[in-house]
Symmetry: C2
Subunit: 195 residues, 2 copies
C-alpha cells in the first residue's frame, strides 16, 4: 500500500472531530486491547514507552473520575463509554534494559537527571497519547481529549509515586449533534518555514 486513500484520510483527519456528546453505545474491553496493541507500536525516544494508561470503563471507576473533572467536562465523562487517563512514569528508564536491550547504558542519563527524565516522559507520553487517538479513529472510535481536570486529585485517586497524569481522553461513538463548527487552523505560511 503506497498511501492511504481519501476515505481513510477522512476517517483519521479530515472528517474526524473532537466530540463533546456520546451515543449510548458501549466500547468493549476487547476493543481497548486492540487499541493498545496498535498505539504501543508508535515510536518513542529509545523505545522508552513512558505512557501508562487507565481505562475508566466501569460505572464504579467513572464515579471516581467525574468529580475530578472541570465542571464543563463532567457530563462528557459521565456520558462517554470510556475515558482514558494518559499518564507517564517519571521512572520509565528503569525499564530500558527490557525495552532497549542493546544499549546497557541507556538508562544512566535519565537516572542521573530527573528533570531530563520527566521532560522525556512528558514529551513521549504526549506522542503516545496522539498515537492512541489516531489508532482509536482508525478502529472507528471517536475521541474527546481534555486538559480541564484536577490533576493533583486524579494523581491521588488513580496513580501514585512516580506516575502522573498528562491528559484525559473520552472514547466512544460521538453524537454529531453535540459538535460545534470546526475552528480554523493556522495556514502553512504562518506555522511553517520551508528552507
Amino acid at each position: 500500500m503506497p498511501r492511504l486513500d481519501d476515505a481513510a484520510l477522512d476517517l483519521l483527519f479530515r472528517s474526524a472531530r473532537s466530540h463533546n456528546a456520546w451515543l449510548d453505545k458501549p466500547v468493549s474491553a476487547a476493543q481497548l486491547h486492540e487499541l493498545y496493541e496498535l498505539m504501543k507500536l508508535g515510536p518513542t525516544s529509545s523505545n522508552g514507552s513512558p505512557a501508562r494508561l487507565v481505562f475508566v470503563h466501569s460505572a464504579a471507576a467513572k464515579a471516581r473520575l467525574v468529580p475530578l473533572m472541570a465542571p464543563g467536562n463532567q457530563a462528557k465523562v459521565q456520558a462517554a463509554p470510556v475515558s482514558v487517563l494518559i499518564a507517564y512514569d517519571k521512572r520509565f528508564h528503569e525499564r530500558l534494559p527490557q525495552l532497549f536491550p542493546h544499549n546497557p547504558d541507556a538508562a544512566a542519563p535519565f537516572a542521573a537527571n530527573p528533570a531530563l527524565a520527566e521532560a522525556t516522559a512528558f514529551r513521549n507520553s504526549s506522542l503516545q497519547g496522539a498515537y492512541l487517538m489516531l489508532a482509536a479513529r482508525a478502529l472507528g472510535l471517536d475521541c474527546g481529549p481534555m486538559s480541564g481536570f484536577d490533576a493533583a486529585g486524579v494523581n491521588r485517586e488513580f496513580f501514585g509515586g512516580e506516575v502522573v497524569v498528562n491528559f484525559i481522553c473520552c472514547l466512544g461513538y460521538g453524537d454529531a449533534a453535540g459538535l460545534f463548527p470546526r475552528h480554523p487552523r493556522l495556514d502553512f505560511d504562518t506555522a511553517c518555514q520551508l528552507l
Copy 2:
C-alpha cells in the same frame, strides 16, 4: 468507512518503523504542504495549535542543521531528503482570538501563567509532532524521529524569542537495509489498567 482495513493499519502502525537510512529519492514541497494540511487538523487544547515547523529541505539549510545534531544522527540528517524541526511557540495563546474565537477569555490564563503556557505548548506540540509522523506514514513517507541534538544551538540557528525546538524528525523513503529488529513493547497488563 467504519474502520481502516489491515493494510492501512499495517502502513500506519504494524509495518511502520523508525528509519535510520534513506533512499536517494526526493520529497517535494507539494508533499510537505499536503502533509501540513493533514496534520494541522489533529486536536489541540483550545485549538491552540502551538507547533511551529521548519522543513529543512535545501542543501543550504541541511548544512546549517547537520553540525547541530548528535554525532550518531548527523549522517541520518545528511542522507534524509527532509528533516522537520518540530518547535513550539510559548506565546501560542496570542493567536487564540483567531483560533478559538467564541471564547474571548481563552488566552488570559496563559498570559497570566507562563509556566502553564509552556507546559501546554510542549504537550500539544508533541501531539502535533505525532500527528505529523502518522500523517507522513499515511502519505507513504517514512519517519525517523530524534531527540539527540544541540537544542540551544538549533534554537539560535533556526528560531528565536519565544519559539523553541521540541524534537526533530527525518522524512523520506526509508532504506530497510538500515533497520534493526523491532524492540519489544510493554504488554497491556504492564502499561494499562482497565477499571
